[in-house]
Symmetry: C2
Subunit: 182 residues, 2 copies
């Protein structure tokens, strides 16, 4: 950030009075421009004993697999965001059922919020941001070709819970965003 | 937003190619400036059969009561944010135990993430953003003087769960951010 989005003057990184952290503060109009973590919201779409995965057509991690998830938009609920992303990336209609995982990724200032989603029919398609979309059984999950470490952690717990027949909400932290260094 | 924070040129609200929503796009350098919901993170600090509440010394809702909570900062985890806010607003050290509530507030593009926090001693103080901090029993919660509707919803469920002796994670939506119209 170099310029004030309100007045166009230069900003300078400094600690405002009464604050403890450096912020971008406008040298013209004194507006403080806070920066905050973003939420990535998605779901594990479930059809019978299968889940729906997407192969990414966009960077980062082009060509690797993930669940439908993306940045939450203004003025929507978490559940709406999860269902919207599933429709956009996998052209699948899900009924968002329960919260499944909440993971902090402090290194990239993101929080992942993942629900379970019920598909009432096995209908899906390939959204604009996907190369391929597929229903897979647990033993078919492409563990070494998953796009993000956090998705690996979420799906690992999902398989464990699924095999136990008991799902709980998982809360955790993932330090690195990538499975493979690049 | 009127100016590009990257180059200082004017921005214009338009739908970028391949997108579905209007974004602020720079007319100079084409940077797309996304806006996303913010997370408000906090905890219910617990000491024996009491919880710690703060009376707000800042707007909005100056003079009204709430639990320690505030905007999550870059590069921290949810648990760190909840503990930090509790230290800042109530000068209390908490051990963040379990996730308690995740509420969407679409009208103000916020998501509240609230944990339960254990106080190991009844020590606390009045932080810079508080007028007063107090340990209260359930029957002493100032229901008509709470600052925000979402805190009302969270504490209502907390009392119900507490009386049942069984806590679960609550997920919901609060349409209005205020208890009293102002």
């Amino acid at each position: 950030m170099k310029y004030c989005s309100t007045c166009g003057a230069r900003v300078r990184l400094r600690i405002p009075p009464g604050d403890t952290l450096p912020r971008f503060v406008c040298e013209g109009c004194d507006t403080i421009h806070y920066q905050n973590p973003k939420m990535v919201v998605g779901c594990i779409p479930e059809w019978e004993d299968q889940i729906l995965l997407c192969r990414r057509a966009i960077e980062p991690r082009h060509g690797l697999w993930t669940i439908p998830a993306g940045f939450m938009e203004q003025n929507e609920t978490l559940e709406q965001a999860a269902a919207r992303e599933t429709m956009e990336e996998a052209k699948a209609l899900v009924e968002i059922s329960t919260l499944y995982a909440v993971f902090s990724l402090p290194s990239v200032s993101q929080v992942y919020v993942i629900f379970r989603g019920t598909m009432h029919t096995p209908e899906f398609g390939v959204g604009q941001e996907s190369l391929e979309v597929r229903l897979v059984k647990q033993q078919e999950i492409p563990w070494t070709d998953l796009a993000f470490q956090v998705i690996h952690e979420v799906l690992k717990r999902y398989c464990e819970d699924s095999n136990r027949g008991q799902f709980e909400v998982h809360v955790g932290t993932v330090e690195s965003h990538r499975i493979h260094p690049s």
